[in-house]
């Protein structure tokens, strides 16, 4: 047992503080938008030039091919939203005005290094805004499955894939739980439903400090 993709998005949505400006990366992080309550006081920013991203546009009357998110999906704009060019959008990111960025990951190292744009030997899709977000957002959360489809750990001692940015990730949310990146490496914050300590330790390709995990079920897996 572990969290589904929807549950991962839901868990990530709970990380976003009221009164913050949040940028969501493409892929799974984009699904967080649907999990943020409308009255949560969270302003969603999309790198292609919109602050105040609303729910997806699905009804024919809502669709406008010139109102899209960074994944090129049609969205709506909330009241109070604003539009700007790409230089201003990235000034928001690079100037430290975005409070939280939630990004996908291919690898996260125990130092907080992030790799999420290229796998050696495979076709490069591109960089997009990931390097800017990783370098510029005040807090970077990685949202990713704990392992690759082939079962290899994504949380590692050192990234072997090309880096997006060094020492940028503060917290990792996976299908198996929530981990912080600390001075001592990965530290367990929370286990996903039905996941044992042994399972998350075995799935992590770096040492995992479980000593002060506050949300562990004490009846289950005291290590």
């Amino acid at each position: 047992m572990a969290w589904t993709r929807d549950e991962m998005a839901e868990r990530a949505a709970r990380e976003l503080p009221a009164g913050s400006i949040v940028t969501l990366g493409i892929g799974l992080p984009t699904r967080i938008a649907e999990r943020v309550p409308r009255d949560a006081g969270i302003w969603l920013h999309t790198e292609n030039g919109l602050l105040g991203v609303g729910p997806y546009a699905r009804a024919p009357g809502e669709l406008d091919s010139q109102v899209i998110n960074a994944g090129k999906e049609p969205v709506t704009i909330v009241k109070g939203g604003s539009i700007f060019d790409s230089a201003l959008s990235f000034a928001m990111i690079r100037g430290g005005h975005v409070d939280v960025a939630v990004l996908g990951a291919m690898q996260v190292a125990e130092s907080g290094d992030l790799a999420n744009w290229a796998i050696p030997g495979e076709r490069v899709m591109g960089i997009g805004g990931a390097m800017d977000l990783a370098a510029g957002a005040r807090r970077v959360i990685a949202l990713t499955t704990h392992r690759t489809r082939r079962g290899e750990p994504k949380l590692v001692t050192r990234c072997t894939y090309p880096l997006t940015a060094r020492a940028c990730v503060a917290r990792v949310i996976t299908d198996l739980g929530v981990l912080d990146v600390t001075d001592r490496g990965f530290s367990l914050v929370e286990l996903a439903r039905g996941v044992s300590l042994e399972a998350i330790v075995a799935a992590t390709g770096a040492s995992l400090d479980v000593g002060d995990a506050p949300s562990l079920d004490p009846g289950r897996d005291d290590a």
């Binding site: 999990r35 090129k72 230089a87 290229a118 960089i127 997009g128 800017d132 880096l163 060094r166």
Partner: protein
């Protein structure tokens, strides 16, 4: 690129910007030109101008645009036609034709972080030769670039990105070239108009001067050289929203 100062007063560049046809709008575009194209995927494309470049038959272009396109449509057709020699942008995407061309080295690619891409273009239009940014420090992007420490943090030197011509789309323009864009179609377009020696704007609607309130101008006419009114556009939706979450 240097700024030549005029010794006498040549005719101003801001007369008679409105062009009657795509051919006139693209006049002077030559083989080997560096061309910026606005838009984010298929959103906010200068559809007629993009098509017009194909018909013009120019080749060996350096294409400067955010992403390499969606198969069969828009800018992707430049790749299909083999007229792109070099692509400078942020995202190739799941674009097998371009990926194969990269592997076969028939196309050169310069991948740029999107914020650096936007700022390099803006810098070119603002007379700024280069700038330092934290984006890309410690990554493959930093290879061969100067770094410098400011206030204890390492920054990377990035240089301005110029073009011979920019092809962008706007919702409305007056005859001086004051522009208004629509929603997220603004993206890189105003910056590209600033950076290009000749900026060509495909507008949905041309209005008389004065119809756009000065406070409502997104890009002043100083950065706009040619205008082409095109009332009909395909404006396809590149993607639909994903299925709603279950439960």
């Amino acid at each position: 690129m240097s700024l030549a100062r005029a010794s006498s007063s040549p005719p101003g560049r801001h007369l008679a910007k409105v062009r009657a046809s795509v051919e006139e709008a693209l006049e002077g575009l030559r083989d080997g030109a560096r061309v910026m194209v606005g838009g984010f995927g298929l959103s906010g494309n200068a559809e007629a101008l993009i098509e017009g470049v194909l018909e013009r038959g120019v080749r060996e272009l350096t294409l400067i645009t955010n992403n390499a396109g969606t198969p069969g449509r828009g800018i992707f057709r430049w790749f299909e036609a083999g007229i792109v020699r070099r692509f400078v942008g942020c995202y190739v995407g799941p674009n097998a034709l371009v990926a194969r061309a990269i592997e076969a080295r028939t196309i050169e690619v310069e991948l740029v972080p999107q914020g650096t891409f936007a700022e390099r273009i803006r810098a070119a239009g603002a007379g700024i030769a280069g700038f330092y940014t934290r984006t890309g420090v410690g990554t493959a992007i930093a290879s061969g670039k100067e770094t410098r420490v400011f206030r204890g943090e390492t920054y990377l030197l990035e240089e301005a990105l110029f073009a011979d011509m920019a092809l962008v789309r706007a919702r409305r323009a007056d005859r001086f070239g004051n522009l208004r864009f629509h929603r997220t179609a603004r993206n890189f377009s105003p910056l590209m108009c600033m950076a290009a020696a000749t900026s060509v704007v495909e507008v949905d609607e041309l209005v008389p001067e004065g119809d756009i309130d000065p406070d409502d101008v997104h890009l002043p006419g100083a950065f706009v050289h040619r205008l082409l009114e095109v009332r009909e556009h395909e404006d396809p939706l590149e993607r639909l929203a994903p299925e709603p979450d279950r439960g």
